[in-house]
């Protein structure tokens, strides 16, 4: 490593530290302070370290609202991802294996979901009509619909790398279409499936806007909404607010640490192919 590279590296790390790490340290420190301390909103060292107490208090707020919110968020995320993976792969499979005018139109319509902003008020109207407004099921279907574009894009590209001969061998062996897909193709999609699970879980877990519209009310509240609502609750207890932020940041952080490679692959794969 040249001297220039070392020096650039050191300077960059300092700058990056200030710009990117300091804000999170801010959260951590303030989450460990007492309410009084935290109201100063500065970087002073906590008088007393009350990290654990703050954690407990935050979780207990409003009858363990945070736990309920976590549960709801997880249910929505898991439910949506399960459907996305299976249904999305099926679409990607047909679009890739049977290229004709019909499937091209299907593909373009699916991709349009990446661009078109959802029409929120009409969606609420629709959800009310079919009695899914304010329900977790409704939210799951919504997330599936909104996530299909990205999912189908990734699956279609990946399935392009699986030779058609495998399908043909299975057909000769007597496999029916659904068997060809579920027993031969789908198992081979594991890498891209992991990527989709990782990327979409973060997206769905972090989604604030759509639950705000489609899941108002206490019963089915999600984690992001809880944080937003707690602003008024914790107006004089900034330490608890920061603790809440910390608690929300942990899951994506864990996913990032363990699935760094998949996240990077997922976010760039749909992109750079052009």
């Amino acid at each position: 490593m040249t001297r220039r590279q070392t020096i650039t590296g050191l300077i960059s790390m300092v700058v990056a530290f200030v710009l990117f790490v300091v804000p999170f340290l801010f959260v951590l420190i303030n989450a460990s302070k007492t309410a009084q301390d935290a109201s100063q909103l500065d970087f002073s060292w906590p008088e007393r370290w009350v990290f654990w107490e703050n954690l407990v208090t935050t979780v207990q707020t409003r009858d363990y609202a945070l736990l309920l919110a976590y549960w709801n968020s997880i249910v929505i995320t898991v439910g949506a991802i399960t459907l996305l993976v299976i249904f999305g792969a099926m679409v990607g499979y047909i679009v890739q294996r049977r290229p004709n005018r019909v499937t091209r139109i299907v593909y373009i319509i699916t991709l349009s979901g990446l661009m078109i902003p959802p029409a929120v008020v009409p969606t609420i109207w629709l959800l009310q009509e079919i009695n899914l407004f304010k329900t977790l099921h409704g939210m799951i279907f919504i997330q599936v619909a909104y996530g299909l574009g990205f999912t189908v894009l990734l699956y279609r590209n990946f399935i392009g790398t699986i030779p058609r001969e495998l399908d043909e061998a299975a057909i000769i062996d007597g496999a029916k279409p659904w068997q060809v897909f579920f027993r031969v193709v789908l198992p081979l999609l594991k890498p891209v499936t992991v990527t989709i699970i990782v990327v979409q879980s973060i997206t769905i877990f972090n989604d604030f806007t759509h639950p705000l519209y489609y899941l108002p009310g206490r019963d089915n509240i999600t984690v992001q909404l809880t944080l937003y609502n707690f602003q008024s609750q914790f107006v004089s207890q900034m330490n608890l607010l920061f603790m809440n932020i910390m608690l929300i940041t942990i899951p994506p952080l864990l996913v990032f640490i363990f699935f760094n490679r998949q996240i990077v692959a997922g976010m760039t794969s749909g992109a750079v192919k052009g």
Binding site: M1, Q5, T6, T8, G9, L10, M13, A16, L19, F20, P23, S39, Q40, L41, D42, I86, F87, G88, M90, I94, R98, T103, V106, I109, T110, M115, I116, P117, P118, A119, V120, V121, P122, T123, L126, F141, I142, V144, A145, L148, V152, D167, P177, V180, F205, F208, T209, Q224, L227, Y228, M238, L241, I245, V255, F256, M267, T268, A271, V272, G274
Partner: protein, 289 residues
């Protein structure tokens, strides 16, 4: 004997489950939004109202502001992310010390909850007690009302959005840079090009697919942005940092559902008429190049 059409091993019905969900929960609302935008619709009544909502949108100052802000915000953040993303990507592929750690550090904010980021920076930008102002004060500068000054609010949020999103742009660019063969730089060096010239003559043209992707993605994201604005300013002070997405929400909350939906349609048209031609034009140029 002529052959009958035999069933394909790739049956169309595979598309049905996803198709059903997509049509019901996405396409139907999108299509009906055009109709609803032409109605006066509130909790008590719904009647056809022609272009009233659109007229309102382009005559009421707060609605106009929202529309204009959306464009400013989107192009500003997209421009910054595109430029900074490329520069950072070049820096982070130069082989310097700690470069993979740095990649992770600048990318991490992309994964954090937007509300979390919004609240965090809202507190850090507090006009009197916020950390940023304490720092400014300590070095002798006057405090800034980042989010309380109407002329600054939108731009403060834009800055936070760039902070959050530049990591993704950098990542995409890094992937794009990896596709440029070393031989182009070597040929340029032999031709006597300086590092700066190499950047403009080799890197920038050859990284075009990634540039296109970054521009399109960040533009769409910028036009649609809601949660960061909502968390940091709620569209305020007043409506100085309103964007279409927050206008849509506010009108919905106020019960003016037809107006809100009209906002949705305007946003849709904005994306369609800006992004689609842009994408087409950018891709065309790539093929020619």
């Amino acid at each position: 004997m002529s052959a009958q059409a035999r069933k394909s091993p790739y049956p169309y019905w595979f598309v049905l489950p996803a198709g059903l969900i997509f049509v019901i929960f996405f396409l139907v609302p999108t299509v009906t939004s055009f109709y609803f935008s032409l109605t006066y619709w509130d909790p008590f009544e719904a009647r056809f109202a022609g272009w009233d909502n659109y007229v309102q949108f382009f005559s009421e100052p707060y609605l106009i502001q929202g529309t204009v802000n959306t464009l400013i915000f989107a192009f500003l953040t997209s421009g910054l992310k595109t430029a900074l993303g490329l520069l950072l990507a070049v820096l982070l592929t130069s082989g310097m010390l700690g470069q993979s750690l740095l990649r992770s550090i600048i990318f991490f904010p992309v994964l954090v909850s937007t509300i979390g980021v919004g609240i965090l920076f809202k507190e850090m930008m507090h006009p009197t007690d916020g950390f940023l102002n304490i720092v400014l004060d300590s070095i002798g500068l006057s405090k800034v009302g980042f989010l309380t000054n109407p002329s600054l609010a939108l731009f403060s949020v834009a800055l936070v959005d760039v902070w959050r999103g530049v990591g993704l742009a950098t990542l995409i660019y890094i992937a794009g840079l990896a596709t440029i063969g070393q031989e182009y730089y070597e040929a340029a060096r032999i031709d006597g090009a300086t590092r700066w010239q190499q950047f403009w003559r080799v890197t920038v043209p050859l990284v075009r697919p990634a540039t296109t992707t970054v521009i399109i993605l960040s533009l769409i994201g910028g036009l649609r942005l809601f949660d960061l604005i909502w968390a940091m300013t709620g569209g305020g002070p007043g409506f100085s940092s309103d964007v279409l997405a927050s206008v849509i929400y506010k009108q919905y909350q106020a019960g003016f559902w037809g107006l809100s939906t009209a906002g949705n349609v305007i946003l849709f048209l904005m994306i369609a008429f800006i992004v689609a031609p842009l994408a087409y034009w950018l891709n065309r140029r790539a093929i020619d190049a």
